[in-house]
Symmetry: C3
Subunit: 155 residues, 3 copies
């Protein structure tokens, strides 16, 4: 891991920046989608939020749990649990000076798997589609972690 | 994005470090606040935690859901969903060599919006105060992501 | 914080990479453990997931909340709330050029505290074991944040 600082100027780091930004933006869209569903379905988590929509119902009845909103929230939570580890490990991996082709393969497989995971979750595709997408993303991150540990081990 | 490594030595990177640390510390305070509320209100998520307080009640009754605790937890969760993307995108953004004034504007707007968001959530201010704070923070992050993608695109 | 870019080539940064990767991998194992419990206990969050196991029960009854699964999920959530701040602050801390011995102390205390926290949570050890592990980890992160703020303050 000598001259790691120069790694920041490589194409691998540019590729990491691009794919990390894309997959983080995808994660952020889940928050916007949750808000959109809450406003259109009039399903809120806080009483003060019910003022955001016009309703003839009792406002307290709008503070409830909705299966569609919960599905998007579970998908968002799974993103947090998987995309953030990818970003952290991917950054360290990019600094170990991997081969550009291998690095691009890891980044593309991970980002692709997360888009498939999101579609599988939101459309409720039959399993194991979502499970496989999740596992493929996990393995891409584990593979990068293996390189970081074997290249940079310092306990 | 040439000579990105030198960007780490710029004032933009110092500013990023400062604002990222401040907003992450703010996020961590939510965890401490949750614990404080759980101990003072005697509301726990695990049966073994009830030994932390003296109580004459049946201990199993202390394992329950409390609206005040849930409010802080939702605020904490919203922090996770928004502050972590800011830190990741902000780090890459700082490496693209933006103008110092523009960078400071992004960091200050984001961090300010999150403090307003937290106060709005905890005090239950009437909407759209919390909603606006959330959207402003999102846009600051999107604006930085736009610069990262346009400066560093490598697919 | 002069010549921070050179800090990436130091032993402190190697040590940070190693400990950050280890603790992120530990966090990711919680997701695998949740899936393992869901499959073996036949407890799912989505109706489509029930096809993953053979069951003679009504499939809708498999979509339920299980205390063991929820315990692992709370542990995972606590990891997200504490390990991600450690990684962000730890990265910035490593760039401030701390003494190697001091840095290793911080990283080891934090990572050790999180392993103790996980065991305490999953085995439901009597409190305050888990509470102390959590607090020790928090203080390690706060201590690093203090150095970042005092070394790199730029508001």
């Amino acid at each position: 891991m000598a001259e790691v600082a120069h790694m920041i100027d490589t194409e691998v780091f540019l590729a990491f920046s691009t794919y990390a930004t894309i997959v983080i933006l995808k994660m952020m869209l889940m928050g916007l989608f949750t808000s959109y569903l809450r406003l259109t379905k009039k399903v809120f988590a806080n009483l003060e939020d019910t003022n955001l929509v016009k309703t003839t119902e009792d406002r307290r009845k709008c503070v409830r749990v909705d299966p569609d909103v919960e599905r998007v929230r579970r998908c968002h939570q799974n993103d947090l649990e998987n995309i953030i580890p990818f970003v952290v490990i991917g950054l360290l991996y990019a600094l170990t000076g991997p081969d550009l082709y291998t690095a691009l393969l890891h980044f593309r497989v991970f980002v692709g798997s997360r888009f498939i995971h999101t579609v599988s979750y939101l459309v409720a595709l039959p399993q194991p589609s979502r499970g496989l997408a999740w596992i493929v993303g996990l393995f891409a991150t584990f593979s990068m972690a293996y390189r970081v540990i074997t290249t940079a081990l310092y306990l």
